[in-house]
Symmetry: C2
Amino acid sequence: MPHYNLCLLGYGNVGRNLVKLLYDKYFDLRDKHDIEFSITGIATRRIGWLASPDGFDYEDLITDKPLVNIDPAPTNVHEWLKAARTDAMFEITSLNPQTGQPAIDHCVAALEHGAHAITANKGTVVHGYHMLRDLARSQGKRFLFESTVADGMPVFSLFRDVLPVARLRQFDGLLNGTTGVILSEIAAGKSMDEAIQSAQALGIAETDPSADIDGWDAAVKVIALATVLMDVPLKLSDVQVEGIRNLTAEQIQAARRDSKPYKLVSRVTRLGGVDEQRIIATVRPEQVPIESAMGAVGPETMLINFQMDVIPNLVIMEDNAGPYTTAYGLLCDFITAVSGVQERQIRQRPTLLDDRL
Amino acid sequence: MPHYNLCLLGYGNVGRNLVKLLYDKYFDLRDKHDIEFSITGIATRRIGWLASPDGFDYEDLITDKPLVNIDPAPTNVHEWLKAARTDAMFEITSLNPQTGQPAIDHCVAALEHGAHAITANKGTVVHGYHMLRDLARSQGKRFLFESTVADGMPVFSLFRDVLPVARLRQFDGLLNGTTGVILSEIAAGKSMDEAIQSAQALGIAETDPSADIDGWDAAVKVIALATVLMDVPLKLSDVQVEGIRNLTAEQIQAARRDSKPYKLVSRVTRLGGVDEQRIIATVRPEQVPIESAMGAVGPETMLINFQMDVIPNLVIMEDNAGPYTTAYGLLCDFITAVSGVQERQIRQRPTLLDDRL
């Protein structure tokens, strides 16, 4: 049975849950997918580049026991990938959405080493998708990123594996849970500042909440989706972005009373005819009727409505992510990478937009 | 490039749309999936067993021009499959939900001939799933049925291809559009009889609407989903079925005024612990809050909420099926069958229920 050495670059909550999930599903992976694995590399800024070619012990990985490194210790990503005899690397460091770095360099290093590169880091898709995809192909490996947009809710794999030959005309949806929670709290009577503080207290909003509130988190996800699913690469400046900061509490509360609550809606529409490869992309607050799926769902729900030639409206949504959900997307990518599931090549269209990223 | 001979058994709306869709996607199939095809067999009760080993002409197929048969004409399904040199057969005759026949026999014939068997006929799954799946495996072919439950909305392929190792604890949802339309019309002021007549006039309800109204259509879909996705085979008598016939117009209208409209809800819950392989399956009218996805969606929406260990609530829904939607499910099955996408074997658990079907 094939045995894979797995390395995690970044080891916070997602990384720990990934390790737990891998072992929870140990027998399913072995019996249903012919996969056995060891965790042979862990790296973080704090603990450095740790490798154990025979595999770290599970108990050591999920407790705070110090992990024993090989001697001499690897001093960079290349030495680490080699020392850990890496077959697949999970890139789960925190995001730099402006550049996608250093995550892109880490993925390049993994692919050049001959390992699959799997990431939860949307910066890699936004800033490096074509390069990483092509590098992966030339290496006979995979670059996969299911967890970048909507926790582990299947989006990229949905189009890759179960919606072949579908033509995506438009998608719209709710891609940012933080603004969902803030809008919901304001609708229930809080001020913007109180709602932000409350979301921060719940661990939903970050200390600097501007990436969420001003719409940039959603915009980056829009770019990732349009790039991969529509084969239309975009820059951030191509997306018309308006966050929720300019809405007043009075507006938000009145909209809720009228049963048309505000939601931060992301939308990408493909123009037709000769403008086929052009799209309009927006992220902005919109009033959505409460008697519709998008209006009715809970504040943290991720939802995407895909409009296709073959299925006019297909909606997929995730009501509340669990602790395993993001890790599950990474695990699915790993299974896809090593199961030899055929990669369906997206037909390349000649386009002037191709090198705009 | 591989070339496949396709045969359609049943040639009504779904069959014609499948032929149109196949030719609409001709270049995508060729360029993205390395698939070329001819339609070499058409059979219906009215026109008999028609075969054209070199392929029928597209124009002839989509107009009402009589199709030219080979001489001597095939006289049964076996002769027909052979004369048409069939590589994949689409079984799209109308359903006998009580027995699944003659669709099951047709699928057996196709598999024994050495062709893939693809069906939109849920009777085959309810009454023949294990036998047809095992026969397909022994022949090195596929038995696939994406279009049986929710038009072409991906359900079986979702679990097969993009939700590996997920453990399904419960699903609930709306599986019958006809009752959705009838309940909606009654809520808006009609009587039950008026609502049924109006749904019949729209072509949504059948002349004898009892299979929909009494919940049996939904119950058959519940059985198909539980059998395949949970590996728990059920008989119709295992499902607690209550249709909408005993609801009064007053109840339905009052529920709508209270913002808790009635929906015909299908639900399957797996019991835990030692009763792991036991489930509770119900189809019954339930009042659903309008401020929830299930309560807010339109009358014809198909919706399933999957509760899994790895994703607590994943909802997939289809707002309005288009003319291509059912045909698209069949096309996806064909692509899956011939693309060599790895079949993920469901782990067999020893169970006393296994031979109950």
